[in-house]
């Protein structure tokens, strides 16, 4: 059984209450951090742990924290990104629903390390249930002296507020999130300046994902070195993977980074194989924005080495034959799934969610959606694939925020790996309306 740092007590009845959480050893990280370690000590442990951001980009958390500017007399903020809206990703919601105090405890130690006295949890607007759960948890923690003024008699004050979003995916992008938190239209900011220098209300700010913040708790309890022993290479620790699609056992799993993808999909401890005895066709490994890979390339790298669930291994082969760990939204497609339809569906999402600030993303996402829609509906042209690749290329890297890239990558990768399926759609406009293409043509791909 994999070590469970986040979900260890998830099945303990009443773990969502302060009382049971505390009985299971909860809030000891707060005591340890405040009484014996000091802010610098916490920062050092997080650096040693090698923890990387779990929101998608995988940026080393210790390094992010050490970039935080600390001018005299200016408040600093910690903002927890709980906007979780990436299609395929549902791990933060799980954590907040069942073990909310882990996030609150993480908020306290992280805020303490950063010297923040006001911190926010920005929760996706649709998650009303989780907003209430978090508010309840905050109230309990406060009633027990772990939040508010003079925490544990140390003189450290901290208030944590829950802020509901209003239902825009773009508000998960950290600077759009800050705009939204300030009460403005959720347009991503043009960087620089980065939030570490000028974030919320123009003050130095750290934005971290829910899981990142929750992970600091075991880092404090067991030490950064202990955490770093788990995992492989620069992918240390455990990671929540939200597995969905045609799997026997979809759900949220905590894995040790470095677990072979094959084991994750097929072993009974995890997803238990493809549902209904079907064959695996393709996988989107890290949320809808990462490149989609056909079954052969997700199980093994192009060199033939087993693919592992780690930042490095998934990225091996770059954009030609690799993908990304992203946010850990793992979507499996069986032989009956249509890649064209799926690509259109993803693109429809990005088109709908583009904030519209910059021209490549505003116009390009809609264009790609329309082309994909016409291919899917038997009205494609043979030039459409090249057109899509070109439009994706014109968006990628030319936008204000990474949503442009997130929209371009699924399209570019789907055509890269499943071009024959797209061509089949275009060449068989009638037949493609009544049946699916089936498994990918791996032979063609190995040669190209």
């Amino acid at each position: 059984m994999t070590r469970q740092l986040l979900l260890e007590h998830i099945n303990v009845p009443g773990i969502n209450t302060f009382e049971v959480y505390r009985r299971m050893g909860g809030y000891s990280a707060v005591e340890k951090a405040i009484k014996t370690m000091g802010p610098e000590g916490v920062l050092e442990e997080v650096k040693t742990s090698g923890l990387r951001g779990r929101g998608g980009a995988g940026f080393p958390t210790g390094m992010k924290w050490s970039f935080l500017a600390k001018p005299e007399g200016v408040p600093r903020y910690l903002v927890c990104n709980a906007d979780e809206s990436e299609p395929g990703t549902f791990k933060d919601r799980y954590l907040m629903t069942y073990i909310p105090h882990l996030l609150i405890e993480g908020m306290i130690v992280s805020s303490f390390a950063l010297g923040a006295h006001t911190s926010y949890i920005y929760v996706r607007g649709e998650m009303m249930q989780q907003i209430r759960i978090l508010e309840q948890a905050i109230a309990e923690a406060k009633a027990n002296g772990f939040l508010g003024k003079n925490i544990l008699g140390s003189g450290y004050d901290l208030e944590v507020y829950v802020h509901p979003g209003a239902g825009a995916y773009i508000c998960g992008e950290e600077t759009a999130l800050l705009e939204s938190l300030e009460g403005k239209r959720g347009n991503p900011r043009i960087k620089p300046p980065f939030p570490a220098v000028s974030g919320l209300y123009n003050c130095p700010t750290v934005v971290n994902n829910v899981e990142t913040i929750a992970a600091t708790v075991s880092i404090i309890n067991d030490g950064g070195a202990e955490y770093a022993k788990i995992g492989i290479g620069r992918s240390t620790g455990t990671k929540l993977i939200s597995a969905g699609g045609n799997l026997n056992k979809p759900g949220v799993y905590e894995i040790e980074l470095g677990l072979p993808v094959e084991e994750f999909i097929y072993s009974d401890e995890y997803c238990g194989g493809i549902a209904n005895g079907k064959q695996l066709k393709a996988v989107v490994a890290g949320g809808s924005s990462v490149p989609i890979l056909p079954a052969n390339l997700i199980l093994k790298t192009i060199e033939g080495a087993p693919r592992l669930m780690s930042y490095e291994s998934l990225a091996e082969g770059g954009f030609v034959s690799g993908t990304m760990l992203g946010s850990g939204g793992f979507i499996a497609f069986d032989e009956d799934q249509c890649i064209v339809r799926n690509t259109w569906n993803f693109t429809r999402f990005y088109h709908h969610e583009s904030c519209g600030q910059c021209s490549p993303c505003r116009e390009g996402t809609g264009w790609m959606e329309k082309v994909l829609f016409s291919i899917e509906n038997g009205q494609g042209r043979s030039s459409d694939m090249d057109l899509l690749v070109n439009v994706a290329k014109n968006i990628e890297g030319n936008t204000i925020c990474p949503l442009g890239d997130a929209a371009a990558w699924p399209v570019a990768s789907a055509i890269r790996h499943f071009r024959d399926e797209f061509e089949w759609h275009v060449n068989n406009p009638v037949e493609s309306q009544s049946r699916n293409y089936g498994l990918a043509n791996y032979a063609i791909m190995a040669n190209s």
Binding site: A168, I170, R185, I190, P192, H351, H352, E353, S354, C355, G356, Q357, C358, S359, P360, R362, E363, G364, T365, G366, W367, K370, L387, N390, K393, N394, G397, N398, T399, I400
Partner: protein
Amino acid sequence: MSEGKIKVSIDGILVEVEPGTTIMNAARQIGGDVVPPAMCYYSSLEGSGGKCRTCLVKVSKGSEKDPRPMPKLVASCRTGVMDGMEVQNITSPEVLEARKGIVEFLLINHPLDCPVCDQAGECDLQNLSYKHGIEETRYNFDRRTFEKIDIGDKIKLHMTRCILCYRCVMVADQLTDKRVHGVLGRGDVSEISTYISNAVDNDFSGNMIDVCPVGALTDRTFRFKNRVWFTKPVEAHRDCPTCSGKVTLWYKGEEVLRVTGRKDEFGELEEFICNDCRFDKKATSDWVIDGPRSVKNTSVISSNHYELPAPPPVIKENLKLQTENKKQLERAEKLK
């Protein structure tokens, strides 16, 4: 090197600028073809820029201290220069390629109704597409359309033409009080609008018309009166209690058809003018005439002025630029 200044090279041309200058403004100090096109940046509007992406350039050397190139193209209007930075604009095929893509994006949903658009002839989007665009369209779908609305009795908003540069929002925010218009909606259906079609009504609102790079905001007192290239621009001023009173009058024969602010070589207003000067002073007797306005040779307004399309002097001094601008140089040499 002069006191406190830093050196940056753009397309191989060295320029010394104050620290904190953006690449765009450094390029403007050089002038000529190395200036990236700007559809959203407006130097007098705080926070403008970064949105249209037409000004993307390549930073091939970050700085003297950290010579690594920047991984992506950057928006020159919002990226500060560093000492020793090397920037490529028209000398980078990658930049020209990306810019073509951006122009295409700006055009796919544009109505291309130039024949009936008041802005034609002085439209930044028209100029941009002539210079950087491709000739045919690859877009086969219906274009996005909006209803035209009147915002107040003087300004027409034709949202279908808008490129969402946000300039007018910033004018409303920074020049006038009680802003009642902004961006509604999201993505490619976001639109400039007023709160329940409120009138935009205050002394400086008319400047929105001048900052709008396209024909989305037009002067209702001038709409459909004439094509701009048939009108004659004349500089004039008056003693105005509200603004500087320095304007351009656009004449057809004896008649003043329209009044605008004075624009500089980058198409930006030198000074914002008030609505009184703009909309209500349309008699020659209201004004003291300063003289005819000189018109840049790239504008169709100058179509009847036969000036030599001389290449900017910088090109003559620079080998790299000469290769890039071969055609233009050849044309100039022939004319001589």
